[in-house]
Every structure is written in structure tokens, then in C-alpha cells.
């Protein structure tokens, strides 16, 4: 799992699942089960339904994602502009942090 960025720290223990969901939605809208599958493919870790919907609930509440009209019983979600901005900032910070860590490892 990826480290938690402080910009999503407001989501508490759901900040890490929230980041994974945002990354999963970055290419386009997905419904719940598709997100679970995508996250499993990206990280190798399984995100269970209880955690997924608690995180979705928070992301929607904070305006980072929004639901689209339901398809059958499935409701797709997509990133909002605020969500895309937040995700970009998170990933930029993580990237800078990753470079710093690799530099320190190289000089050790």
C-alpha cells in the first residue's frame, strides 16, 4: 500500500483507501466492483466492500467524487475537478517524497 499523504489526512484511516479510489477513477468513471478489481490489479491488495463504501462515502461528502446515474444496480463514480486537483497534489508530493527517499538510500 502507498503511504498516506497529509492532504487526505482529514479522512482518517480512510485516507489511504481514498487515494487508491482516486487513482482508480483517474482514467474514467467506475462502479464499486470495478474499482475493487482495479485496485487489486494496481497494488495486489484487496479492498473489501465495507472499506470501499466508507471511503466512497467520504470522498463524495468532500466533493472529490460524484455519482453518475445508476446502471442497473450499479452506480458509477467519477472524479470531480476538486478531486482531480487533490489527486494531482497528492501524487506530486508523493513523487517528491519518493525521490528524496531514493536519494538518501543512494548516499547511504
Amino acid at each position: 500500500m502507498m503511504p498516506v499523504n497529509l492532504d487526505l489526512s482529514e479522512l482518517g484511516r480512510f485516507s489511504e483507501p481514498a487515494l487508491l479510489i482516486l487513482v482508480s477513477l483517474a482514467p474514467g468513471a467506475k462502479h464499486g466492483y470495478a474499482m475493487m478489481e482495479d485496485i487489486k490489479a494496481m497494488t495486489g491488495a484487496e479492498m473489501r466492500a465495507g472499506t470501499l463504501y466508507a471511503a466512497l462515502n467520504r470522498l463524495e461528502h468532500h466533493g472529490l467524487i460524484e455519482p453518475l446515474p445508476s446502471e442497473d444496480r450499479r452506480k458509477p463514480y467519477r472524479l470531480t475537478t476538486a478531486g482531480a486537483t487533490a489527486l494531482r497534489e497528492q501524487l506530486t508530493n508523493l513523487s517528491a517524497f519518493a525521490r528524496l527517499g531514493l536519494q538518501r538510500l543512494a548516499t547511504a
Binding site: 462502479h31 464499486g32 466492483y33 475493487m36 473489501r48 466492500a49 465495507g50 472499506t51 470501499l52 463504501y53 466508507a54 466512497l56 462515502n57 467520504r58 463524495e60 461528502h61 468532500h62 466533493g63 445508476s70 442497473d72 444496480r73 450499479r74 452506480k75
Partner: protein, 257 residues
């Protein structure tokens, strides 16, 4: 995966938002103790965070929770500035108005200044007898005294004044100054804190219904021109029946002095 009993763990409002899609997800998962535990934790979380059950964006939820939207911060500052200005302006206005009223109240009347209160003993006294349609009227105490013991710093008195309700008028100021009954009536009517009923009635009464006596003798001149002198008795009668004075007041004017 049989999720009916697990779904019932969630709040009703949460189920209204997510139940269908949640079922769709669970239908494609194999049941496991960890999945069930995860769902139970999710249900507990939903109970602990009621704001998340509404399905509303946080800003909208806060707006509905607090009622009408608060004005933007810059508007709040603007409103606060306006309110502060109004309150400060109002206080300043009332302070200035109060001061102006005090100054006006203490302004000279008919050329008689209001001077700091230092009456150990007055230089002269006269007795002013008032009769209104046969009924005697007592002069109120405090005529010619600037208002209110609460404003001691600005307290003063005019050269014509009354200490008690006893019909004795004090005459102060330079010994060369001559006071008239008209001046006393003007000071009386402008002393805001005393009853001016009689003097107002006097002003409203036709000249032929006013009878003035000095030292027991009727005076045909305008009552306003009657000169107040030391130890003199002046009588003013309004209307009938007439009750002319019996005689001049000699000697002491009572305990009022």
C-alpha cells in the same frame, strides 16, 4: 453471499444511498470472515458519522445543518464594520446630544447666568404667593437649579431659585442686579426637572384674568415687569375667586432660609 443481516447493521439513511450498489458488489464476492468483519466495521463507522449518511457534499450538509448560509467572510467583515460604525456613531451622538442638552440647560436665561452652586446664604429673599382659581399653589423646590444631582460636575444655579417647596425665592448674584417676576417665570419654565404647570397656565391666561399684588397692593402693570426685592411679598392670582393677600410679610421667611 448472504448480506441481508449485514446490511441491516447500517443506518437506514446509509442504506437508502448505497444499498443497491452495495448488494451488487457483495453478490460478486465470496463470503469470508474478514469481509464480514469489514462490513460490520463499515456499519459501525456509518453510525458514528451521521453527516456521511446524508449523501450531501460537506459544504451543502453544513449549510443545511446551520440553516441559512452565512455570508462570505468579506461580507461578514463589512457587516461588522457597518454595525460597529453605527453603534459607535450612536453612542457618540447620544453623548454629544446629552452634553449639548446640559449646555443648553445651563445657558443664560434672560441674561442671568447659571453659576457654580455655592449658596451658603443668599443675599436676598422674597415670598411669592401663587393662587390658581382660589387654590394656593406651592412653588416647587429646585427652580433655577441645573438638573440632576447625578451630574454634579455641571451643577449650577441661576440668580433666582428655590431651595424647598415653600414659596420663598432666593435672589443671588451682584447686589446691583435687578430681577423681575418675568425672569423668574422664564427660569421656572426652563428648569426641566420641576413641575411648571402653574407658570405654563400663567402664560396661557389672558392678562385680564391675572391679578398681581406687591406688599398687599394690587399692581396694574404687566406681571412680568414686577421687580422682586428683598423681603417683599408678591402675589399672583389666576382666575376667580380672588383671594388677595392680607398684608406684607415681615421679618422671617421661615425655615427655608
Amino acid at each position: 453471499m448472504n448480506v441481508e443481516w449485514l446490511l441491516r447493521l447500517y443506518p437506514r439513511a446509509w442504506r437508502a444511498l448505497y444499498e443497491d450498489e452495495f448488494r451488487a458488489v457483495l453478490d460478486r464476492q465470496s463470503p469470508s470472515p474478514r469481509s464480514m468483519l469489514d462490513i460490520a466495521r463499515g456499519a459501525l463507522d456509518a453510525h458514528l458519522h451521521p453527516s456521511l449518511r446524508t449523501g450531501l457534499p460537506r459544504r451543502e450538509w453544513r449549510r443545511r445543518r446551520r440553516g441559512p448560509a452565512a455570508p462570505p467572510r468579506h461580507r461578514r467583515w463589512w457587516l461588522a464594520s457597518v454595525l460597529t460604525t453605527l453603534i459607535a456613531g450612536g453612542c457618540a451622538y447620544f453623548l454629544c446630544e446629552s452634553r449639548a442638552t446640559t449646555v443648553a440647560a445651563n445657558a443664560p436665561i434672560d441674561g442671568i447666568p447659571c453659576q457654580p452652586l455655592a449658596h451658603a446664604a443668599s443675599r436676598a429673599y422674597c415670598h411669592l404667593r401663587l393662587v390658581d382659581h382660589g387654590r394656593p399653589v406651592v412653588l416647587p423646590a429646585g427652580i433655577g437649579m441645573s438638573d440632576s444631582s447625578a451630574i454634579l460636575a455641571g451643577r449650577c444655579s441661576y440668580g433666582l431659585w428655590t431651595r424647598t417647596a415653600s414659596n420663598v425665592v432666593h435672589l443671588d448674584g451682584p447686589s446691583t442686579r435687578v430681577y423681575t417676576l418675568g425672569q423668574f417665570c422664564d427660569i421656572w419654565s426652563r428648569t426641566a426637572h420641576v413641575d411648571a404647570t402653574f407658570v405654563n397656565r400663567l402664560r396661557a391666561t389672558p392678562a385680564n384674568a391675572i391679578h398681581v399684588y406687591v406688599a398687599g397692593k394690587g399692581v396694574s402693570a404687566d406681571y412680568r415687569d414686577v421687580i422682586l426685592t428683598d423681603r417683599e411679598q408678591v402675589t399672583i392670582e389666576i382666575g376667580a375667586p380672588l383671594r388677595p393677600p392680607a398684608s406684607r410679610v415681615d421679618g422671617a421667611l421661615g425655615n427655608d432660609l
